[in-house]
Symmetry: C2
Subunit: 688 residues, 2 copies
């Protein structure tokens, strides 16, 4: 019933089954799309034929996956069971002229023509064909007569070469099947780099045969074997995605130092775990900032030659494991205090004429860069390494001063600033990212999900479908900026990913069942419009708890851990209200929604595990929904006075406040029903 | 909303939050349970202490998993992050006197005492402690004040030593994570054997290093590597479960013969795939039976010494991979036609004085049995090998004549007859299984799921929670027979498994979203009471289609592929009707349910992929719900005449018929509202 209402609301809001002629349900939107009259109907006799260079088995696996997906989606029992070399004829033809593995920088363009009598997908490279096949799957439509592809001519190629997703599997480990699901989702939105943050203070996550203590003492048993890594690399490559490994150093290395304390700048001992240890008192934001700047944090000793011998051997092994031409070395957030505290390191700095710990860090990066060059790898690092050797690739994440330093140094740049998924910003805030246009040195960007409060139980809700907005920004023309249309397609993408087995909806629904059992459906009416508080406030609420609450095994099962950052109900309601403000149409749909919210609080029963904030939110929702309903009546009766409106304002101010790390996402829209004004949404949100 | 109604119905039917004093929400029910006054409340300072023989790391992993599950369930952030040797004190104490790995036959008993001031779990063996920890997790309750364990004294031990689940991963492959989820679910219901059917005509699913063509030509790329098998064996052992591998022979070997055609009784060539190839016409049941008896089917040549040299080497390798003391050799369903067609084999039979192909099969089994004995493995096989060496373990599945033959031969017996999950029988039909009591030679049994029409997308809905009923039958006292109580606990188990990550609900809901998109909630009101047609009729409907429809890659996404075999809505409605018949209470709840069904058809919209049968079922449901509502009115008005009742009967007869391999599960219950009589449910169902 909930879904039915959602559908009615969506239809009323104008984002129902009809679709925009230029964007259809394609995400990312191709470079040029011309939809035409007519349809290519899908029937059991639908066949796919492939013309490709001999031995392009990757292409055949991809085409067979496409066939299987169409098969499952349509339930049609296609006659053609598998597509093999020799199957060149078919209603749908795939033509590739050049066999090539996927790498950022490869030609990923394709040309797709669909008419009622057949379809043709042409690409120079296998990778281009993979991208085109994803477009085909997104074009599948249904009507009462069955499934079809609309007639269309599509020319496509990406705007940026490097389109990545960074997952932090160090702070919380993700099982292989979760990584495979993320890769499947990435392929749908044409991302091409999975950047795995494989080591940090909390864990080292790859088997090393040369240095087995890394996984033995640094992983608490949670790591990927080399066999698993090889398989994952192959799985990703099959989908046109390269895995770029990150081994963060010289800071963020507690787990490595737990394994090999001789590498450390201070004697230790070390245990994998968060770098900061707190007392039993909650900390203020300035106190946390102070702690970050002044606490001695574990770091590799850059003054020992033995360090570089270790890293040479280590990176040699990892280069054999990861075929990626890029190796990410982190190089972020080292405050240098451990170095300053070690007299031998201070002496080394004097000998080497290194003015400060920044200079020492630069020295370390230069040494590692030389090692990686020897192993035929390009070095990528977070923005703090900007200004070193020109051919370092700089990943901007926080301070634009580093970005400009990289520009002055003529270094290639990846943009993650504005793309941090763990800040809980809605998709539209990620969608416009000025930094991408700030320099021609930008080669692309990456969505990034740090995992302090993300684990295998909520990672997919945190990442999908929201990452689709970033993927579109990196692939589609810069002129593509319509937010309503983005959201329309984003929620369709969500359904498509669900169909493919991505577990974002599953994780959300399972968590609701866990929290509320048989009442999950009722609770969902509320949680569907609750979103996590934006910025680092949720993380800091966690960090400010007594020490025991920073453990990696803490349960991430609160409502704020599992609600989506983008609320579909909110988007539909917003559009409904926005249309109503200008046309006064569909007031009945608005009224139905408000009535539902007004009666919700009475049905939300106290259940252990539900924060008290949940019932408080429900009550505030009841209050503002009631006021909005009254406002609709008063407007009709002509009694909607400015005085009455002013009296109601505090209710909305209260309802708009965060509580339990959660926000009611529909307060502004509901308030617009009494004020008659709906402000555009912010394009950016505070970080704290 | 749907869930809320379900809850109201359940509460009205008397199976809500209150629980039976003897069975609580325990499944399987322990040998003896005494629940007492008082509660052990769970708070953040809840600690677990362990006393165990040194080096029992398996136990510590199990206790830590229990801690993590409690942690996630309660959201409590327990202070005790991990439990390690030395942590012997705690509010909850686990005491094990003897370290031991799990094997059928090991002591699995435990003694559990819970009081408001603490709890103690005592077991002789680690395995017993594992079983007791599962009981503890099922005892967790919640009230408005939080979570607690009820005071109780429990003494427990299993009725049968061998309690298994057979999964056929040959016909459709299951990914490792699915196997792990099944193992997690098995552990909850205290099963101890995962029997993997690893080879059949359609596929060979394990990597062999000695005979690599087995996976290369026999698996179409879908097999478990030896590393994966070792890991899976360890994963299962950690949960007190042994993996018993089955390599089916001499029949059901097409995939093996595709790899090594020299082993075959006929020249081939062979391709992995179904043994029977059909024409383009649907077949009748007798025609299918005839085909099974007379078609030459691929079989190993038992007359060649080279065959036994191969098997010696093969089983030697597999014995190194699977530590299980048991090896399953299938030995079922070989019609012998390929042997009779081969003059060399006929000659061999004459030389060896083997009267017929049955005798030749017995010869083959004796030879393989000797090989396995050499490799220190006991031989298990399907019932057709009954009558061979006494120490063969016979798995009864179809013809009780074999069972009695095994009894006469004094062989140990496993019961799977009555436990075939792919027959779509409801839990109560599996629950009473007379064969278990038919001989003291019965050492246990196995639920069995053949996978002709089961794949990774629906296997969990097909298996869980239903297998819980079989697990209880194998563990709990024979006196435990209350069906209403079974169903009450079975649906609670379903929620518990969902919480642990088992995907049965997820698979069902995702499939509905795939079929109906935004209308999934509406469709669910119907599919919640649709069940698959019982027996082999659904499989035969598939087999009778033209040849192309037998492919392994056919989509299993129809409604009949994804609905549950046991309907929770039906069980609650049945109990409601049953109570109403004797007490006339809760008529309003019945009326609400009927009204909902009566208006459903109008809302089920035609969607491609939905069989036409769905709308037809909805219309028949509308008709009988309408008649039942009228009957309630007539009963009040005194106009419920026998003539009127008789006139309505054909409507119910029509609604009770299978359509699209689906049945409306609530027809008898609805009919009882007009007839005043509700017959007990059948204890058995037809096979065809």
């Amino acid at each position: 019933m909930q879904r039915l209402l959602l559908f009615l609301l969506a239809a009323a809001a104008g984002s129902g089954p009809s679709f925009a002629q230029t964007t259809h349900s394609l995400l990312p939107v191709p470079k040029t799309v011309r939809l035409q009259e007519g349809q290519l109907r899908l029937r059991a006799d639908f066949r796919i034929g492939v013309s490709a260079p001999a031995g392009d088995s990757l292409l055949f696996r991809a085409v067979n996956r496409t066939r299987a997906t169409l098969n499952r989606r349509t339930g049609l029992y296609f006659e053609q069971e598998t597509i093999a070399p020799g199957d060149t004829a078919g209603l749908f033809r795939v033509i590739v002229t050049q066999k090539q593995v996927a790498l950022p920088g490869a030609d990923e363009g394709y040309h797709l023509v669909i008419s009622p009598s057949g379809a043709k997908l042409q690409a120079t490279t296998t990778t281009g064909a993979l991208r085109g096949l994803q477009t085909v799957l997104q074009l599948v439509q249904q009507d009462s007569a069955g499934y079809y592809l609309p007639s269309a001519v599509i020319d496509d190629a990406p705007r940026f070469a490097w389109r990545g997703l960074m997952l932090d599997v160090a702070r919380h480990f993700l099982p292989l099947e979760a990584l495979r699901r993320n890769i499947d989702a990435m392929a749908v939105v044409k991302l091409n780099v999975l950047h795995l943050h494989l080591s940090d203070d909390e864990g080292f996550r790859v088997q090393s045969k040369r240095f087995p203590e890394l996984q033995r003492k640094g992983s608490l048993g949670q790591f990927y074997t080399q066999t698993e890594i090889r398989e994952l690399v192959r799985y990703a490559a099959d989908r046109g995605i390269v895995i770029v490994p990150e081994f963060d150093m010289p800071g963020h290395t507690t787990a490595m130092l737990a394994a090999y304390p001789a590498l450390a700048s201070a004697p230790g001992p070390y245990q994998p775990g968060p770098r900061f240890r707190r007392g039993d008192k909650p900390l203020s934001l300035p106190a946390i900032m102070q702690m970050i700047q002044t606490t001695p944090t574990p770091a590799i000793d850059p003054s020992h030659e033995a360090t570089y011998a270790f890293l040479d051997s280590f990176f040699g092994e990892m280069a054999g494991l990861f075929p990626s031409p890029w190796m990410h070395i982190g190089a972020d957030e080292n405050n240098g205090v451990s170095w300053k505290n070690n007299p031998a390191i201070v002496r080394f700095m004097q000998q080497q004429k290194l003015a400060d710990t920044h200079a020492l860090q630069a020295y370390f990066v230069r040494r590692v860069h030389a090692i990686l060059r020897k192993h035929n790898r390009k070095t990528v690092g977070w923005e703090e390494l900007a200004g070193g050797p020109k051919d370092l690739i700089v990943q901007a994440w926080s301070d634009t001063a580093y970005f400009h330093k990289a520009v002055r140094n003529n270094s290639s740049i990846l943009v993650s600033k504005g793309f941090y998924l763990d800040l809980f910003y809605p998709a539209h805030a990620h969608y416009r990212n000025d930094l991408l246009d700030a320099s021609p040195l930008v080669m692309g960007g990456e969505a990034a999900l740090w995992s302090e409060i993300v684990d295998a139980g909520n990672q997919e809700t945190r990442t999908w479908p929201r990452t689709g907005a970033i993927a579109e920004r990196l692939w589609s023309p810069a002129t593509q900026t319509d937010l309503d249309d983005l959201y329309r397609r984003l929620f369709r993408l969500s359904t498509q990913l669900d169909d493919l087995g991505i577990d974002h909806i599953g994780q959300y629904e399972r968590s609701l069942r866990r929290l509320a059992g048989a009442d999950a459906g009722t609770l969902r009416n509320l949680t569907d419009i609750l979103t996590p508080v934006k910025g680092y406030r949720k993380l800091f609420a966690r960090l400010s708890l007594p020490e025991r609450y920073t453990v990696q095994s803490a349960p991430l099962t609160a409502v704020s851990d599992i609600v989506f950052v983008d609320s579909e109900v909110k988007r539909n309601f917003r559009q409904l209200v926005s249309n109503w403000l200008s046309t006064k149409k569909n007031e009945e749909a608005i009224r139905i929604q408000l009535l539902r919210w007004k009666t919700l609080a009475a049905n939300i029963r106290p259940i252990p595990g539900l924060e008290p904030a949940i019932q408080a939110h429900a009550q505030r929702l009841e209050a503002i929904a009631g006021v909005a309903l009254e406002a609709l009546e008063r407007r009709k009766a002509g009694t909607l006075t400015p005085e009455w409106v002013a009296q109601q304002r505090p209710l909305f101010a209260a309802a708009g406040k965060a509580d339990g790390s959660l926000e009611l996402s529909i307060v502004k829209e509901t308030e617009a029903l009494i004020s008659g004004e709906l402000a555009p949404e912010p394009t950016s949100y505070p970080m704290f």
